[in-house]
Symmetry: C2
Subunit: 343 residues, 2 copies
Amino acid sequence: MKIVIDAMGGDNAPQATVEGAVQAINEYGIDIILTGDKEQIEKELESKAYDKNKLEIIHTTQIIENEDKPVMAVRRKKDSSMVVALNLVKEKKADAIVSAGSTGALLAGGTLIVGRIKGIDRPCLCPGLPNIKGGITLLADGGANADCKPKNLTQFAFMSDIYLRKVLGLENPRIGLANIGTEEGKGNELVKEAFYDIKDLDLNFVGNVEARDVINSVCDALICDGFTGNTLLKSCEGVAMSLMKLMKEKFTTSFKGKMGALMLKDSLKEIKSMMDYTEYGGAPLLGVKGGVIKAHGSSNAFAIKNAINQAIKFANGNVVNDIEQVLKELEEKEKNKEQQETK
Amino acid sequence: MKIVIDAMGGDNAPQATVEGAVQAINEYGIDIILTGDKEQIEKELESKAYDKNKLEIIHTTQIIENEDKPVMAVRRKKDSSMVVALNLVKEKKADAIVSAGSTGALLAGGTLIVGRIKGIDRPCLCPGLPNIKGGITLLADGGANADCKPKNLTQFAFMSDIYLRKVLGLENPRIGLANIGTEEGKGNELVKEAFYDIKDLDLNFVGNVEARDVINSVCDALICDGFTGNTLLKSCEGVAMSLMKLMKEKFTTSFKGKMGALMLKDSLKEIKSMMDYTEYGGAPLLGVKGGVIKAHGSSNAFAIKNAINQAIKFANGNVVNDIEQVLKELEEKEKNKEQQETK
């Protein structure tokens, strides 16, 4: 098992990426390739203890910045840490990539370099939204595809199911469709049609799910177009963070408030960490021919290590093979249906 | 000034609607018509002090339930408290209606009975989302139109602007467009096109707004299709309510926690009421030929009184006239543009 890390990607790179990689070698015993500035990486590695046979550095001279136009950056910055890492996945020299760099560039590179699985129209990026049961709900899509067709949503549904089984270890994942009402027939044209297509799949489909219930963990994956998914993700994040900030302000205006907050310190900390989505590893890009895990831009070493663990499970779980298998089965089903209709 | 109240609409009807109406008569000195079961209404009125010349009851025999199919209910339940009230607005016997009944039925009735303003393709329902500055952000549309065209969003934008000026008294309302990034050119096909159309209007357009920033009051009205608006509204509501519930659970598991919570009681109560959107009156239906205010289903008397106050300001502010005026100006502008192009 060999995972490649875009060592220069993210707000805390290369410190967090290198540290996370070393932790992963020590904890999981896997091989790691780091792509990035060799000098900087070696400096970070200096004081660290790890099996040197398990770490390879590939020196790169460029970095893709968040401000770069994604497609252009992927095409032009051929010697960037991200593009070199993506090419290793493409060439099967690495089993999966973890990057905390530009989301747009990783999406573009995942599709352009690693390539779409044949039959998948649109890969989807699936961040996990923390819920109050202490787990996450996968958002598929969380922002990669602003405009979607029903067929895309159907593909997001079975890809999420496979990911949840193989990577997160769920036995019978509950798949929900994001909607503005729970009754059948609700919603916009997109979800009205997608509802019946998803229902036709062999999944544990729990039907329409309203945005207010997502945080209560009524489903394990929420299927939606990327515009809706991103809106949901960011509104939840905004409310949780602003409420926490507001409380801090209110609590520290009086002595009584400060005393009370001190007494509730542990509970407040626990709730804050529950709502902190950086703790839950990265977002997989589903539908490309390899493991591509997007770690949060502000990832620390712990988050990088978690994302590497996800990448390992993704590769071990043969997620790509499983997706290809389902596509084949659906194609067969469609063919049989057509043949029966022409009879 | 005469406002009609659907006395049988809402979870707490007719107690809350009657009590709210009486409070409004006493506080604002206006005339009120209550539509609903006369016997029940009179029973509620028994012990109350108010100017009897200012209150009229119109007896109705039917009630539209939340379970009724909206369009069918409006067409068939001709003697329901809601339909009779809507007809009074249509016939100009009342200046505006307040209802806490079925949202779907009020939307259908607003459009079918009161009628669209000529030139407005889709009326929009505009609930207020509480923000942490202690105010609200108007969502236009908050759920009336699951599928929208750019033209609809443009109309939502100038209608919100008028409402915010005339009813909420804002001098220079900030109009934002819900998007998944703040840069120009971001988003799905709908908002990409609407962006430039709204920018062309004579408004204080603050550009694209991300869902995470709405709660921080970066705009006074957020323009979006109803699917997005409803998703945003419900996800914010869900996170705020679930976080509050989670805190209560965590705080009450230990003696220390209980003590701490007791000390923070006032702050927690303040935050909770800040996030409680039932405190902010009702949601106007913009684009129909009269004042139609949807009060929250769980409204108490105070919320009903607030919604009546909104209805008064809506009628006094000539919102419908102003919308017609802007439509005329836009039509002129369009004509001039066409003439210039053919020259």
